[in-house]
Structure formats: C-alpha cells, structure tokens
C-alpha cells in the first residue's frame, strides 16, 4: 500500500509512484504497453489535472476534490477469490444478467478471472486478458483513449491495471445482458483508476448495463475509462446507472469507435453523486452509423453533474441524436457540453442535440453549451437547450381532473424525465429505473437502496429530497 505525505500534491504523488514502482505497474504488460504507459505519463506530466482554466472544465471545479489525501493501491486490497455474490445481489425482478463485479476498481473473480463461453464470448479481468490475449490487447488498449483529451485520461492510461475485458467475436448475438458493477467500499479515502475494454465483432450485438455505486460514505475519487470498439454492422445497447454518495467523485470517460453500419445507444441515468463527470467521445468511423447518446440527471444539495459529449461525424450518411434532461434543486450544479463535429466529407449527416433542464431553486445552476462545428454543406443539424419551469397549461390540465398541486407537479416532473427513460430497451431495467426516478422525486431514494444491489454492509439511511413545492 502506498501512503502519501501531506506536502505532496496528488499530481506529484502519482508521478512519484510511477517512477518508483514501475516493476509492479508493468508486471502484466507487453513491451508495447510499457511504451504506451510511458507516453501517457509524459502527457500527464505535461498536462497535469484539468483546472478551471481548461476549456471544457470551466464549469466543473475539480480542484477541491484533488486536495484530499487519497490512498492509491497498485494491487487489490481484498483477498482474491472471495465470494462476492454473498455481498452483492442484484434485485431487479425478472432482470437476467451475467454480472461482472469490480470492487474498488479491481476485477472480482471466482474462477481464474477470465472465461470464454460456447459462443466464444470472453468476459473477464483486463489484467488477465493482457496475459491471455496479448494481441487483442496490444491492438485495442489505450488506442482510442486519447491522452490529449485530459490529464485524467493520460493518468489512467499510465496506471490502470485492471478493469473489465469483454470480447464478442464476429456474428454473435449476446442474448443475456452483461451487467458491470463497480462498487466502492473502503474504510479509507481512496483514488481508484480502472480501465474497461469492450470489443464487439462485426454483425454482433451486446447489451451492457454499467453501474457505479458506493456502499459506504467514504470520500473517493474514481477515474474510469471504457473503450468500446463496435465493429461493422454491430450493435451496442449501453446503460450507465450512477447512484453514489455525496463524498464521491467519478470521472467517467468513454470512447466509442463505430465502424460502418454500426449502432450505438448509450443512456446515463444519474440519480445521486457528489461530483460526476461523464465524458462521451463518439467517432462515427464509417458510413451509415447511428449513435444515440442520452442521459437524465436528478441532482440536489451541493451535487454536481457534468455531461460532455463529443460526436465526430467522420463519414457520410450517419445519424447522431443527443438527448439530455435534468432536474436541478438546491445549490446543485448541472453542466452539459455537446460538441458535434461534421467533417468536410461527412455529407448527408443528421445530427440532433437537445438539453432540457428544470431548475427548482434560485441557487441551482445549469450551464449548457451546444456547439456545432460543420464543414460539410449537405447536412441536417439542430440543437436546442432550455432551462425552465413546469408547463402551466399542463398543470391546468391535470388539476382540471381533480389532481392536486403536489401530485400534478410530481406527474409532470416524472413525465419530463420519462422522455429519456422510455428509450431503455431492457424492460425490467426500465421498470426499475422508472421506479427509482419516482422515488428520487419523492425524496425516498437512498444510496443504500441500490439500483441493482442489496448490500450487506451497514446501512445508514440518507434521504435526498427534491423539494416539490419549489417546482
């Protein structure tokens, strides 16, 4: 275990660990990966962590988070091989998934850390995959995760050792959704970096539910990268569920590479979290791709949620759709930054973007910045952002049926969020998220009543209430 002294900043501390602990950090790496890590740490040295002066970080101040005294581990702190099914249990009725657990960023395994099913689908620990599938790893790991995007990306590429590895061969439809759960449970303040790699072969399809939860109330900083390679005519249906404690910071960066005719749908549901930043980098790397990037966030108190979307229309005849909706109460802060790039040859692009917010208090803040950068001349693009209140005509309609103020507001708030939730294609998941959003709006959802988990750790009830009277 590394311990840190107070006089070092996190940046200096991480650089120090890299220089002194290379043997451990490189232990599973091919020569190519070692070089990749070295390039990444140089990039991090050069960039450092983002500051308020960094474009795209102007509205998200990470500085205070970085000042905390985190411990950083180069190896798992729990015993490998322990049976975590006793600690975590998915309780969504009728939702059948194959569950992959990570504890504090480390893959939790019962049987060697990697397995291949009869269709050839590989699911397991990234650390193990490096040893077992070096060619696949060398070809894909940290390739689309571009260091230049931010210091967090570079630092993750330099350090991350474990995470989830998923490989779907060509022409395979994975029937049962995969569910990745990253649990933070520690008795210390920790900094976690994990790196997931998902490769979907051509004509294949995968449904993936990615959950970020905390089961403690400890301070934590998580820097996660997931790289998604979606092959020609392949399909990824992806969900993120974020229900974390108020002391946690999550920097969640996702890179999606779509080959021709590929389809992506990704939907981020943020119900709670001290500070959450989701960065989506989507590259439409062939003709006739379709990408839907969606999100809904319900934040209050001093919470902060930031969704960044960059869509690169590199080829003609592609469609992208962005839809983000949020309800922001108390002194919470929501940020949306959507950048659509349509390159010169990307004719017949259809790109749409929408960010709608309801503000419930004078102190709540929303910063929304749509940005279209278009170099092709035959395209259809639109963007729109709203920050407002509940519609008065709709209130009149509900009340004219005898429904009182409180329930009328509740129904309309819910209807506002439902526009995103209705796109969830896994029915039991939709029902559960629906239920969680209702509970969240009523102030009845606690982080310990997990979206997917019943944890056996001690539960302290915390309620996060959006004050309906302010709608």
């Amino acid at each position: 275990m590394e311990t840190q002294t107070q006089d070092k900043t996190l940046r200096e501390k991480m650089i120090g660990i890299f220089e002194t602990r290379q043997e451990t950090i490189f232990r599973n790496d091919s020569p190519g990966l070692v070089e990749r890590r070295k390039a990444a740490i140089e990039s991090f040295k050069h960039q450092g962590f983002p500051t308020a002066k960094t474009e795209n970080w102007r509205n998200t101040d990470i500085n205070k988070t970085l000042l905390a005294d985190y411990n950083y581990h180069l190896e798992p702190t729990f015993q490998k091989g322990q049976d975590l099914s006793k600690i975590f249990k998915c309780d969504i009725p009728h939702l059948e998934t194959d569950m992959i657990s990570q504890l504090n960023g480390w893959f939790v395994s019962e049987n060697g850390g990697i397995k291949t099913d009869k269709q050839g689908v590989v699911v397991g620990s990234l650390a193990k995959a490096k040893l077992k599938y070096p060619e696949l790893i060398d070809k894909h790991l940290s390739k689309i995760a571009d260091d230049k995007k931010s210091g967090f990306v570079a630092l993750n590429n330099a350090f991350a050792e474990d995470g989830v590895f998923i490989y779907v061969p060509d022409n395979v439809e994975v029937e049962v959704p995969l569910q990745m759960v990253n649990i933070i449970n520690a008795d210390e303040d920790i900094f976690i970096q994990n790196h997931n790699l998902v490769i979907i072969g051509k004509n294949s399809s995968l449904r993936l539910v990615q959950c970020d939860d905390s089961v403690d109330h400890q301070r934590s900083l998580t820097n996660t990268i997931t790289e998604f390679y979606i092959g020609a005519n392949a399909e990824l249906d992806h969900y993120k569920l974020q229900n974390k404690n108020d002391n946690s910071t999550l920097i969640n960066t996702m890179f999606f590479d779509l080959q021709r005719d590929a389809r992506l749908s990704t939907n981020a549901v943020t119900l709670n979290g001290g500070m959450i930043r989701n960065e989506n980098y989507v590259t439409l790397n062939g003709e006739n791709c379709e990408a839907k990037v969606m999100g809904v966030y319900l934040v209050d108190k001093a919470q902060h949620v930031d969704n960044q979307v960059f869509i690169d229309h590199a080829f003609p005849n592609c469609v992208s759709n962005e839809l983000f909706k949020g309800i922001v109460d108390d002194s919470a802060h929501a940020v949306f930054n959507g950048h659509i790039l349509v390159r010169r040859d990307a004719q017949h692009t259809n790109a749409f973007q929408s960010n709608k917010n309801i503000l419930l208090s004078d102190k709540a803040t929303v910063n929304t910045k749509p940005f279209l950068e278009i170099y092709a001349d035959d395209v259809k693009c639109s963007h729109g952002a709203t920050i407002g209140q509940i519609d008065e005509t709709a209130m009149f309609y509900l009340k004219s049926r005898g429904i009182g103020e409180h329930n009328a507001r509740m129904l309309l708030m819910y209807a506002f969020a439902a526009e995103v939730i209705k796109h969830i294609k896994i029915e039991p998941l939709k029902i559960r998220i629906d239920d969680m959003v209702k509970k969240r709006l009523r102030g009845e959802l606690s982080i310990c009543e997990q979206c997917v988990l019943h944890c056996s750790s001690q539960e302290k009830e915390i309620n996060f209430a959006i004050d309906m009277s302010k709608v």
């Binding site: 004219s400 049926r401 005898g402 009182g404 329930n407 209807a415």
Partner: protein, 249 residues
C-alpha cells in the same frame, strides 16, 4: 347547477368577456356557439378555475348555489366540474391508467371516501373504454402522447366517463373530427346524460348539434351572449352565418 351573473374577464388588460349571464339547470344541455375570438374558450377556462392571465374584473359564478370565486381548479373538479379541452395536453411517461387512478383517488379523498378498489377501477375503465370505442390497452399508453386528433378527443370523453362530472363543459370537442369520430364523441356524451347532470357544449359548427341535441343554444359574440333560443337557432346560424347578429350586438 350553474349561474353566471354579469361576468367580466380581461386578459392582459383587454376585456374578453363583457357582462355575460348564463343559467344552467340539472338535466339540461346548453350549446354555446360563436365565431373565433368571441370568448368561448375563455369562458370555459374561467369556469374551470384557470387563473394566471385571466382576470375576473366583475361578476360572479355560482355553482350548486355556491360562489366559486375562491375555489382552486382541483377543488372545482372535485366538486364535479369537468372541462373537455380543445387541445388536450400530452403527458409522456404517465399512463392513462395511472392518471385516472390518481384523479379518482384524489376526488374520493376530498369526499372522505376510501381509495377505489382495483376491481372497481378496472370495471369502470372497461365501461368507459367501450363507450368511446377505445380498444387498446391503456395501461401502456401515455396520456395523449402520439394520439391523433380524434383519439385525443375520444380520450377526453373517456375521462369524462371515468370521472362522471355533474357539470361538463366541452370546449370545441368536435373540431377536427371526422364524422365517425364525431358520432362516437356525441354518443358518449348522450349516454352519460342523466336528469341530474348538465352539459355545456362549446362549438364553432352546427354539425355537432345534429348528434347532441341541445335544450338551449346561445350565441356568444364579442364577449356577450347576444341571442339565446332553442335548437332551431343553431340551424339558423348555419344557414345565415354570424354576420346578421352583429347588428344585434
């Protein structure tokens, strides 16, 4: 049932209703006709209790003998006033079932009754669906979302059948309907008529009144009722238009 005395309503300082009187008794059907901009929809909204931009500068509205000036929209609804909207509002994500159950239970709570049982609720819903010829499963459909114009209006009558109001005001429920949908809507209204309830049909066209036979027809023009009569008045309006009434106004 309803008695309106010398009602004046302004919107942003502009007087829309200028001294309107109307009496509606239980068991009666009244039709209010008039050209666009005569104040028909304003009258409907004001009876239902809509505030905001509407300013009641003078006059009173009595419902069941009580002055309802201070009553909220939802209280009026719970007392039995129903407004069928000209433009029903879409509420994505809220199923019609959930919407109606919420409404019925709030009304029942107001009256000191227990929540409706699931069995009775479903029974009522099946009856109401039959009345307006709705075949789809409403549990999965959001209120008015993706509905055609005709479906929205049928859904208004469906809600009326669920809530069984004492006074129903139907604001241009016939506009935009083809003849088949119009018949369905009219049949629904007729089937719900009893000797104890009353209906005010607000319409632009005489056509609806071939199917819903009114006891009284009133012509609203420039914020006032300029002529009242029996159902024959509607036919006269149809053949002559509204212009001949301008002199009377």
């Amino acid at each position: 049932m309803l008695s309106i005395k010398n009602l004046h309503v302004s919107i942003e300082g502009k007087e829309i209703i200028k001294g309107l009187n109307l009496d509606v008794k239980p068991g009666e059907v009244h039709a209010i006709m008039g050209p666009n901009g005569s104040g028909k929809s304003t009258l409907a909204a004001v009876i239902a209790g809509r505030e905001g931009i509407f300013d009641l500068t003078e006059g009173d509205i009595y419902y069941k003998g009580k002055n309802i000036a201070g009553m909220s929209i939802e209280e009026r609804a719970r007392e039995g006033i129903f407004l069928g909207f000209q433009y029903p509002v879409e509420i994505p994500g809220v199923s019609i079932t959930n919407f109606m159950r919420t409404a019925i239970n709030e009304i029942r709570q107001y009256k000191g009754l227990e929540q409706i049982s699931a069995v009775n609720f479903l029974k009522n819903m099946e009856e109401a669906k039959k009345l307006v010829g709705i075949q789809s499963k409403l549990t999965n459909r959001s209120v008015n979302e993706g509905f055609s114009g005709g479906e929205k209006k049928k859904n208004e009558i469906f809600q009326m059948a669920m809530l069984k109001p004492d006074l129903a005001i139907l604001d241009e429920t016939d506009s935009g309907l083809d003849i088949d949908a119009l018949k369905v809507v009219a049949n629904g209204v007729n089937a719900l008529k009893t000797k104890d309830n009353a209906t005010i049909v607000i319409t632009h066209y005489q056509r609806l009144l071939d199917y819903i036979i009114p006891d009284f027809v009133h012509v609203l023009y420039n914020g006032r009722i300029v002529k009242s009569g029996k159902k024959e008045l509607a036919l006269e309006l149809e053949s002559k238009g509204y212009d001949w009434l301008k002199d009377e106004a």
